[in-house]
């Protein structure tokens, strides 16, 4: 027998949740199931047709986020103009009521993007298994929880059984050493990592993020990082919990209190990778090498430092990549070799489950304020919007006066939701429009048919709004 090696964080969470094995698949227990209006109607219909109850309504939390409008939410669901969205929202309301599931409806201050709400409420906890019918569920991995996106038939399976049938993934560790330079943060790490390992680099794996630079990130930064694990092809992303995690969790509505807190803390502290744990693959980066990063193409791996140039299709190794680069340049309306800062933007979107939390809004507002004090506003040809991740984020931002800064500088301050991340609500790009966006996907048509998306950090997006083109935020703040 080979010598026993230690366990990774993923191994530990996995082992703690395997209920049984069937036909070569594990039946994995799910601690928290987050649901929203778009991927659940047919799952509930399936349960009804089969006469099956929801097994653990208490382990389920519902929000309305994907297709809610970002203005006029107080008017209620009946006033939602889009017929399909309204029907989905009404169906969710009925389903949660019929099944006794906790629900934060549109307009409730606790409502917001599902991946903002879970952590904010303290429902997301270390060592948990979490699922949601949305691919960016990986966000919750920031707490050392195994969090995965699932499809509608799996949503139904989890509602009925509180388990998921699954085969185990591989272990991949991405270590970021050192300390980042000024103006460089979690979003730049995340994009640089996708750029380094590719959109298929994490396929079949769960990524654990480690290293000094990761430890130095706040919880919100870690959420941004894990949010993009899925864009590297991984099934989930993880950061081991530490004091930063516990400080964040303390006092949240669903966080354990008193003696239960001590008990929970002792449990959470068991979730880390052993020193002798073996990873199937390791990738190491240095934070000092990472600049503010933006995407130039139509895949999140198409990244370039803001100081760099649009690459030439000739620079790609394989014929396939050359062709897709040519196609991407054509779609994006860019020329090989031009500085990326020449890309003139029409729209700026600050929001999404990647970057709509209070720290994101503070960093964007700092740029807006600096510009405003120097007599500069959002460039006249730019439509810039800020969409907070939840009602509570919005409230806090307003208490801090961030909304006033944004508005004074010419940004539109909106109500919470997924908004232009996926263009299911009325916030979307027109064909050919170019957008500096803090979201997570720059696929063709993601933010509206024919729309051109450049992913970047909130500070970089705010800077682009002021300059009217992609710009190095470090220069603007100098």
């Amino acid at each position: 027998m080979p010598p026993m090696s230690g366990k990774t964080l993923y191994d530990k969470i996995w082992d703690a949740h395997v209920v049984a094995q069937q036909d070569g698949e594990a039946i994995l227990y799910i601690d928290l199931h987050l649901i929203h209006e778009v991927t659940t109607p047919q799952a509930f219909a399936g349960l009804r047709a089969a006469g099956r109850p929801v097994r653990r309504p208490d382990r389920t939390l519902a929000v309305a986020d994907h297709n809610v409008p970002t203005e006029g939410q107080a008017l209620g669901v009946g006033a939602v103009a889009d017929e399909e969205a309204r029907l989905q929202l009404q169906t969710l309301e009925r389903n949660v009521r019929d099944n006794g599931i906790e629900f934060f409806p549109m307009g409730d201050i606790r409502n917001g993007i599902v991946h903002v709400v879970g952590p904010e409420q303290g429902r997301t906890q270390p060592g948990m298994t979490i699922v949601c019918g949305d691919s960016h569920t990986s966000t919750h991995g920031a707490f050392g929880a195994l969090a995965q996106g699932i499809g509608t038939s799996e949503v139904e399976h989890v509602l009925a059984t509180q388990t998921l049938r699954q085969k185990k993934s591989k272990n991949l560790r991405v270590t970021v050493n050192g300390t980042p330079g000024p103006g460089v943060g979690a979003k730049d790490f995340a994009l640089a990592i996708v750029g380094a390992i590719g959109t298929a680099g994490g396929t079949g794996s769960v990524i654990e993020y480690a290293g000094e630079a990761i430890r130095g990130l706040s919880m919100e930064g870690r959420m941004t990082l894990c949010n993009l694990a899925i864009e590297a092809g991984a099934r989930a992303g993880l950061v081991a919990p530490d004091q930063t995690t516990y400080d964040y969790m303390m006092g949240r509505p669903a966080s354990p209190k008193g003696a239960a807190w001590e008990m929970a803390l002792a449990h959470w502290k068991t979730f880390f990778s052993d020193d002798d744990a073996v990873f199937d693959r390791e990738v190491v980066l240095d934070a000092a090498d990472i600049a503010p990063t933006v995407t130039w193409g139509t895949s999140p791996e198409d990244v370039v430092a803001v100081t760099g140039n649009v690459p030439s299709p000739e620079s790609f190794a394989t014929p396939d990549k050359k062709i897709s680069a040519e196609r991407a340049l054509d779609y994006m309306g860019l020329t090989a070799g031009q500085p990326i800062t020449e890309a003139r933007v029409d729209v700026v979107f600050i929001g999404s489950c990647t970057n709509s939390r209070i720290e994101d809004l503070r960093s964007a507002a700092a740029v807006a304020q600096h510009a405003f004090l120097n007599g500069r506003l959002v460039a006249p040809h730019v439509r810039a919007m800020v969409v907070p991740g939840s009602g509570l984020v919005k409230e806090q931002a307003e208490e801090e006066g961030l909304d006033a800064i944004f508005k004074a500088a010419g940004f539109d301050w909106r109500e919470p939701g997924c908004s232009m991340c996926l263009g299911m609500n009325p916030d979307r790009l027109a064909p050919g429009e170019r957008c500096a966006s803090t979201s997570n996907r720059n696929f063709e048509g993601r933010q509206g048919r024919g729309g051109r998306t450049h992913l970047m950090s909130p500070a970089m997006a705010a800077a682009a709004a002021i300059a009217g083109h992609i710009v190095d935020v470090r220069e603007m703040m100098a």
Binding site: Q22, D23, I27, Y29, A49, D58, S153, W261
Partner: protein, 203 residues
């Protein structure tokens, strides 16, 4: 999911090959938030013209095929988008078995999740069934246990099926049903966790 054991039903011939899921259930019917009722959209563009008037010559609209339970179709049935609405629509219409020479992969898998039996037969066998289906008597017997299709004239054809899939189909076990056979394990697991992590139990 309903179990499939043995079916005696009318069979309708659909000679076209490569019928895709958009033909089975066109996209304007996907906006529903339900699974039931999709039968009205089944093969919509074959059954109705632009004005929504029934095309009387289409096989499923002909009186002799009313109440059809089995479809015998051309090659590569169910190709195209992965929409699970396709098996839902067929079942809602009353069709619980499709016979063809071949099926698209995702559609084939989706069938087993929903209690629709896809039967693969040899081209000459499918051809023979098509011919009989066009005749006056077209009641066919599909026996999953015995893995046979018996034509109206009494010709018997046997078919292959994965034994695990067959067993689940006979019992009406979809993935959820299968997992629920381990319901005891889930109960035990939950009670252990309730003791070791009591803070997660919300009254």
């Amino acid at each position: 999911m309903k179990a499939f054991t043995k079916l005696d039903a009318r069979m309708a011939p659909l000679t076209m090959a490569n019928i895709d899921t958009d033909q089975i259930i066109p996209k304007q019917f996907l906006k529903t938030v339900e699974r039931e009722g999709l039968g009205k959209g089944l093969f919509y563009d074959f059954r109705f013209d632009e004005q929504g008037v029934e095309k009387t010559e289409f096989v499923l609209n002909r009186p002799e095929y009313k109440g059809v339970g089995v479809l015998v179709a051309g090659d590569n049935f169910g190709c195209g988008s992965s929409r699970e609405h396709a098996p839902w629509a067929l079942l809602d219409f009353g069709i619980s078995c499709v016979i063809s020479t071949s099926f698209a992969d995702i559609f084939y898998n989706n069938c087993f999740q929903n209690g629709l039996l896809p039967v693969v037969l040899k081209p000459e066998e499918v051809q023979a069934l098509m011919e009989e289906a066009k005749g006056g008597n077209h009641v066919v017997t599909v026996d999953l246990e015995a893995q046979t299709v018996v034509s109206p004239s009494g010709a018997a054809f046997s078919f292959q099926i994965d034994p695990q899939r067959k067993a689940k189909m006979l019992q009406g076990l979809d993935a959820i049903g299968e997992t629920l056979t381990a319901a005891m394990d889930i109960d035990v697991y939950e009670s252990k966790r309730a003791l070791s992590e009591p803070w997660l139990e919300r009254a």
